[in-house]
């Protein structure tokens, strides 16, 4: 079920009540696990079996890895879990992509091949829980910690409903103590949790769905029908939408977990105020970028083999990160663009520009370049296919029509521009802070006014319930 549905509010109230009525911590964990599985089943009940199977298998394999003394056996077990997890993910997520590209490759040498028609439905959240499981097994292989003896505790780590379908991708080391030590709802936790839920729903319902989505959808459904100014507004609209959609989900996840006494890691830290692309990836989908760094980039060799190997590893990591988001060349291009940004930035920082890096004017200019670079990359992320992506690029950079088009923007587009600018300013003002810190600084009446305003705007923004964008990954 979605956070922005009335069903979730009812579900959450029942979970909160049931969780606090129960006394025994073990019973409470079972209760949370069953509730989490109910939450997951609301989408497609048969896929709960896949989640259960994946959870149980990885829990068993992790124990095997730990028990094995022989390094070869340890490696064999970790390779097994990699093959199983990535195999399942690959089957559900990449079968069509691989077969279609295989058919295209054969067609280019004159061989006609029609791939079989698979009717595969992507199990929701599979990319996220697969990464949870992999990090657990790899960390045990690396002897970071001992595996848990409790299937229930491990299942709760993977399946805890606030983060199950779209993250944050937590590490077992972040959750172990929280799962093993009894905790309960506190007044402060419940208050802050509700505040984060309201913020998340405000971002999702008011900003992402009501303000940004209509303009973004109108542009990406029919690119090329307007001028450059409209194209930029469309791209900014999607940039605003994807942030508010995903950060909104993360806020709801953090809030509902906090109300139950759990602390999830922050997933976004004002990314549109980033100065540079390295900085961007320290602020955007932090749990994924740190996962890719620790389990992919480091495994590829990280920065241990000299500059060119570092750049190659960086590029590979971003390409795979792009592909993780979806089985399409547009996601690969998005990853390649970010890989290029990062490698270029690394070269410039190392060789060309190290002395003046902290100049304020340069930082402002570079922050602007970063923002535009990120937004241009989002065009590829959202484009339906590569040819549409190119058409959008041509339209964006037809700068003569941009000037003329600026005067012809409609009220909805102007509202989108103003909202996006406001979003960027908020990110810049609170650059090194987060919502928990902002809320905590306010007096109770002021916080009440802010939350009341957001809540009223949520109520006053009815519409269709749109699935969170990151559910499809």
């Amino acid at each position: 079920m979605q956070f922005d549905s009335i069903t979730f509010l009812l579900f959450f109230l029942l979970v909160l009540a049931g969780y606090n009525v129960l006394r025994d911590w073990g019973t409470r964990k079972w209760f949370l696990l069953v509730a989490s599985y109910l939450f997951y089943s609301a989408w497609n009940p048969p896929f709960l079996l896949l989640l259960l199977g994946s959870t149980t298998l990885d829990w068993l394999i992790a124990r095997r890895i730990d028990q094995a003394e022989d390094p070869t056996r340890r490696k064999a077990w970790v390779v097994a879990t990699l093959l199983i997890n990535l195999g399942v993910l690959g089957y559900f997520k990449y079968s069509h992509f691989v077969l279609d590209n295989f058919a295209s490759a054969l067609a280019s040498v004159g061989i006609a091949y029609v791939p079989p028609a698979f009717d595969i439905i992507l199990p929701i959240g599979i990319s996220f829980y697969t990464f949870h499981s992999l990090s657990y097994c790899i960390d045990i292989y690396r002897r970071r910690f001992k595996p848990t003896a409790s299937w229930r505790d491990y299942a709760l780590y993977v399946g805890f409903f606030p983060q199950l379908v779209a993250g944050p991708i937590t590490r077992f080391s972040q959750m172990r103590e929280q799962i093993e030590t009894p905790r309960a709802t506190t007044v402060a936790g419940l208050g802050m949790g509700c505040a984060l839920l309201i913020l998340g729903l405000f971002e999702k319902i008011v900003l992402a769905d009501s303000v940004f989505a209509p303009i973004a959808n109108a542009f990406f459904d029919a690119p090329g029908s307007g001028d450059s100014a409209s194209a930029w507004v469309g791209v900014f609209a999607f940039s605003g939408q994807i942030f508010c959609d995903f950060a909104g989900y993360s806020s709801c996840a953090l809030g509902s977990a906090m109300a139950l006494g759990f602390v999830l890691p922050i997933n976004f830290r004002n990314p549109y105020a980033s100065v540079g692309f390295t900085d961007f990836w320290r602020r955007w989908h932090i749990s994924l970028s740190s996962w890719l760094r620790d389990y992919l980039y480091v495994s590829l060799g990280g920065n241990r083999g000299g500059e060119w190997r570092t750049l190659r590893n960086l590029m590979l990591t971003m390409l795979i990160g792009g592909l993780w988001h979806g089985a399409a060349w547009t996601f690969v291009i998005w990853g390649a663009l970010h890989g290029s940004y990062l490698t270029l930035e690394r070269i410039v920082r190392a060789h060309v520009w190290p002395v003046h890096w902290n100049n304020r004017a340069l930082r402002f200019v570079y922050a602007t370049i970063t923002l535009f670079g990120v937004c241009i990359a989002w065009s590829w992320f959202r484009a339906a296919n590569v040819s549409q992506g190119w058409r959008i690029m041509l339209e964006l950079f037809d700068l003569r029509s941009a000037v003329a088009g600026m005067g012809q923007l409609g009220p909805s587009q102007i509202i989108v521009l103003a909202s996006f600018l406001l979003l960027v300013m908020v990110h810049a003002i609170f650059r090194n802070s987060g919502p928990i810190a902002w809320f905590s600084r306010l007096s109770a009446p002021l916080l009440g006014l802010l939350l009341g305003l957001m809540l009223a705007m949520i109520v006053l923004s009815p519409g269709d319930n749109h699935a969170f964008i990151y559910f499809q990954f």
């Binding site: 989408w43 509202i415 109770a444 009440g448 006053l460 269709d464």
Partner: protein, 339 residues
């Protein structure tokens, strides 16, 4: 502990924040609700794919009442009085699946392919509605039902239906952004609809709120335009295209169900255009003679033929009960339905 919270007890802090936020929300939403009500707007259920899916869940036999599924478009959705139907057919459970502006063949195909469905379908369709062009008009609803509809959305939709029938501000037309945009553009308030939907998806059209002469002319002109843009296929070709429909009927009949086709009345210019485009003897009558299922044309029943259609196509809500009774009686007389 954060600075503001630690200065007093967390309980008092959050109680204050909660009370202020609840009061502000209620004050803002209440004021805006009062404003719209003072301008003559009323709350109402909004038809949607979710509401359709909720009714789609009800097509299966359970309990003492057997399902009577109403397929079609606006003429059924706004023309059938559900209470009258329930009273007239106490052993039936009417389910409204007609969709305003959408011909129903996709929904009929869906019911035919649903092996669990064995009820009676009353299908409002005219000869034009059988054209291949319009075959998939309701498919998006069918797809939504099979791909996205879950018990979780059912709970959501129930709560939403309650909220929409309680508050004007539950209607997206009265949302914050549309209101700001209307104000910016100097546009008038939202259109005051003459249609009121119920939770069962049936609707009342109140033609006292409509310029019926204008509406009748608009309907007829639009129909004429569509006939020009999408001219009727030759009757033989049209009839060959209905082989699938026969197959769907047989699938439903094989499970003990039945399909009753019903050509709903039109009047005035609209009837004239419809008859000239799709002459009854060349289209409907040939279909009725070919299909192995009951098929009724409004022309066969005087009470239906003379139904007071406010805009040449639809009934005013006050005329629904009489029309529904006339239709049920016609079907009972022919033995196609039983009480």
């Amino acid at each position: 502990m954060p600075s503001s919270i630690s200065s007093s007890s967390p309980g008092r802090y959050w109680a204050w924040a909660g009370v202020v936020s609840a009061l502000l929300t209620m004050a803002l939403c209440g004021s805006i609700e009062s404003y719209w009500r003072s301008r003559g707007y009323e709350p109402g259920v909004i038809d949607s794919k979710l509401l359709w899916a909720q009714q789609r869940d009800r097509v299966y036999s359970s309990g003492s009442r057997s399902p009577l599924v109403l397929l079609g478009a606006s003429r059924f959705q706004f023309g059938i009085d559900m209470r009258t139907l329930k009273d007239a057919l106490p052993r039936s459970r009417p389910v409204m699946l007609a969709i305003n502006g959408h011909y129903p063949l996709a929904a009929l195909r869906d019911l035919a392919e649903d092996k669990k469905f064995n009820g009676i379908v009353l299908c409002d369709i005219d000869a034009r509605g059988f054209n291949a062009t319009y075959r998939d008009m309701q498919q998006a609803y069918v797809d939504y039902y099979h791909q996205r509809w879950t018990p979780s959305w059912s709970v959501h939709r129930r709560a939403l239906t309650w909220w929409q029938s309680t508050a004007v501000i539950a209607n997206p037309d009265f949302g914050l952004l549309p209101t700001v945009l209307r104000w910016w553009q100097g546009a008038a308030g939202p259109w005051k609809t003459h249609v009121h939907f119920y939770a069962d998806r049936s609707g009342d059209a109140d033609f006292r709120k409509v310029d019926t002469a204008q509406s009748t002319k608009g309907f007829a002109d639009e129909f004429k335009r569509l006939l020009t843009e999408d001219p009727p296929p030759p009757p033989d070709q049209w009839l060959v295209g209905l082989a699938d429909v026969s197959k769907w009927v047989e699938q439903i009949q094989a499970r003990g169900g039945e399909v009753i086709f019903y050509d709903t009345p039109t009047s005035g210019k609209l009837r004239e255009y419809a008859n000239s485009g799709y002459p009854k003897s060349l289209y409907w009558d040939r279909f009725a003679a070919t299909i192995h299922a009951p098929a009724l044309s409004y022309t066969e029943v005087p009470a239906l033929e003379s139904a007071p259609l406010a805009d040449g196509s639809h009934l005013d809500f006050r005329d629904k009960p009489d029309y529904t009774r006339a239709l049920v009686n016609a079907l009972l007389e022919r033995g196609w339905l039983t009480r």
